[in-house]
Amino acid sequence: MNILYDERVDGALPDADKAGLLQALRGQMPELEILHQQEELKPYECDGLSAYRTTPMLVVLPRDIAQVQGVLKLCHQRQVPVVARGAGTGLSGGALPLEKGLLLVMARFNRILHIDPEARVARVQPGVRNLAISQAAAPYGLYYAPDPSSQIACSIGGNVAENAGGVHCLKYGLTVHNVLQVDILTVDGEHLTLGSNALDAPGLDLLALFTGSEGMLGVITEVTVKLLPKPQSAKVLLAAFDSVQKAGRAVGDIIAAGIIPGGLEMMDNLAIRAAEDFIHAGYPVDAEAILLCELDGVEADVHDDCTRVREVLEQAGATEVRLAKDEAERVRFWAGRKNAFPAVGRLSPDYYCMDGTIPRRELPGVLKAIAELSAEYNLRVANVFHAGDGNMHPLILFDANQPGELERAENLGGKILELCVKVGGSITGEHGVGREKINQMCAQFNSDELTLFHAVKAAFDPSGLLNPGKNIPTLHRCAEFGAMHVHAGQLPFPDLERF
């Protein structure tokens, strides 16, 4: 089932009067930068999930909050759907435009407004890049902890909208744990401040609700993040294993020893070889799996923990344990992992990155099942895994120019996600649902749960104009999707109309 917006199952969208909207925008905001010609719109037809493209009706690039407010008010009056977009690096199609919608690009909001080293906070505009915050805080010995792989390019507004993660989540948390306050504009342009500069705020925790809401509840206009003191010391151990099962067990053993590593990553043989060919990180290419374990903190503790972790790894059957001998080697070890996606990309014309999470103990079974699915669908799968927090990134290799391969890759991906749900995990750990995993939401949540999600949406955006079609599937879509997965003759959602 195609994931592009389908009005039959995703809901009818108001028919837009492009010329009228353009005229009204120009009339009210002569300074506003608007793109409306086909060749100007083309670069905005997709985000980081480039397999899916839709040309938006219009693109606007506001420079100040008043313009954003003006655009939202006008679109609300005229019932035009609005899709907000930051840097466009998202991997789930959360910023995939709509033919009948306006694309609101927030990238021009790229100023760091204030860094307060004593309060350890940074107040920034939503288009500021993730890494730019840490760079600006570095002179004070501080940094912003969440570090998604795309951190050199992705913007903080998008990070909040997706509740972005990274490789240090087990110890330092996700975006939701590192944001104090967010300013938003509602669908009709009203300003709200969620959270506060203190550690909590009165009322319901709408900051938690908005974090990861994928632009469905409001448009982020400002973000205040927490900054942390940079760890004094960081060391990385690389351990090689002759089976992924052993590597998986070693992860549990490290935790059982009472140690929470700053980062704990696993790669399988295909990913190891791809990364080694690309980055020359010094990975053992014969290993079935490697673990990268970063220990950070105060010098003395890091030293002690390295000794403990080394013992644990050896007892868990590691064939080799290496401590990065200096900062250059540490950075190289990480470079292999952080470039695993593009490295795998060199093995195949296209790849499809999954983002399921599982309870860690299920890892051996899930990896075995993925290998079986890989054989069944005749597509290679490389596994990269945030082992510490159970977030898997299987990369499915395919060639979109071969007829049917993209569809096969999608189906294989869908199966992997359903497997994650079956063992008690989730279809997405950090990339978001967007459009990409809209069908798999039907596997993770039942119709009552989806109904409650729609109720939340209705509280903030009753006419459904903000990013329609993302994050939460309609019950009709699930009925259609479910029709392809009939269990024991029982059709899910039997009382719903079929298309």
């Binding site: 506060s196 003395a300 945030h386 409650l452």
Partner: protein
């Protein structure tokens, strides 16, 4: 454990009856936090029959617990595995339950360094205002599927639904802990804390009682020793932190009303009538004062903070009133999730 029982079917029936008759419910465990918030009305729904630990695997760092489970039992089970709830939720009573801990969302002395109750919520099961028993979030560390209704439940005072079960992230206890106290003025303490906060020191609690700064250092043997060598101080009994958390220090004994000020952590000492106790490294201040609520709130607002009244029944809105637009969205959300208005109406705000 003896007494463990899945009583969710009966709880669901009670909620559905209340929905049918539009009877407001007053959700309670042991009632240990009844003194917080507005005075509730309605038929009592007692959660304590639904109790027990559903699953716990220490190497997964996740525990799933039913709402009526005593908080003390949860702590005991974690203790036995040398793990903890890092947010140190206060009990305010022997019978305090896990459901009340989530609904009130209160955190203890480690909060600025570890995160709040909400930060450790991974998933919940909730009986909703549409009469369904649903599951949100899960038992995994990272999960961004759908809206984050689980964390929204933390601190909602039962106004959005009945929390029946919660999955929490837990962490190993630190290998070493050491508490010290240093004589210094509160101004000096706040200055020092602002400086130390920018350095990788293993501080996990910091409270100034008007005369002395109390610090807890937690981490590995090396870091705790190095920090102690550097900061000095006289030894302090670690029981101090529990007494602070549970409001058993003599500071809390006085008759005057108790106020909680939540402030940006580097706020200078506030000039307010009465006595103050600085916690959370500066981000939480306890005030014993007869001053008018409007005055205290104005002083806190000016520095970007907010105020909760901890003396029951003293004022009509113990939680800081919300700006009009924000209140409208609160009402809209309440209307959507609890359309018949049966869950703890008026507990958080009169309008909800």
């Amino acid at each position: 454990m003896p007494g463990d029982l899945d009583d969710s079917t009966l709880l669901l029936e009670q909620v559905n009856r209340a929905l049918d008759n539009a009877t407001p419910l007053r959700i309670q465990g042991s009632n240990s936090k009844a003194f917080l918030g507005r005075i509730g009305a309605g038929e009592i729904l007692d959660t304590r029959s639904h109790r027990g630990i559903v699953s716990y695997d220490p190497t997964e760092l996740v525990i799933t617990v039913r709402c009526g489970t005593p908080l003390a039992e949860l702590k005991q089970v974690l203790d036995a595995a040398r793990q903890m709830l890092p947010c140190e939720p206060p009990a305010f009573g022997d019978g305090a339950t896990v459901g009340g801990m989530i609904a009130s969302g209160l955190s203890g002395p480690r909060r600025p360094w570890s995160g709040s109750v909400r930060d450790f919520v991974l998933g919940t099961r909730v009986i909703t205002g549409l009469g369904k028993h649903l599951r949100f979030g899960g038992e995994v560390m990272k999960n961004v599927a759908g809206y984050d209704l689980s964390r929204l439940m933390a601190g909602s005072y039962g106004t959005l639904g009945l929390i029946t079960e919660v999955s929490l992230k837990v962490l190993p206890k630190p290998r070493q802990a050491l508490s010290v106290s240093l004589e210094m003025s509160s101004e000096r303490a706040l200055q020092n804390l602002a400086q130390w906060g920018q350095q990788p020191l293993p501080i996990s609690a910091a409270c100034h009682d008007g005369e002395r700064l109390h610090l807890r250092l937690e981490g590995g043997e090396g870091s705790v020793k190095a920090a102690h060598d550097r900061l000095g101080g006289e030894p302090l009994d670690s029981a101090y932190w529990d007494d602070l958390n549970e409001h058993r220090l003599t500071f809390f004994d006085e008759d005057q009303p108790l106020w909680r000020l939540s402030l940006p952590n580097n706020t200078a000492r506030l000039s307010l009538p009465g006595r103050q106790l600085i916690d959370w490294g500066g981000a939480q201040r306890w005030l014993k004062s007869d001053a008018e609520d409007r005055f205290i709130r104005q002083v806190a607002n000016e520095v970007g903070g907010h105020v909760t009244c901890y003396s029951h029944g003293l004022i009509d809105s113990p939680f800081q009133p919300l700006p009009a637009a924000l209140m409208r969205y609160h009402q809209s959300l309440k209307q959507q999730l609890d359309p018949r208005g049966i869950f703890n109406p008026g507990r958080l705000y009169a309008e909800l």
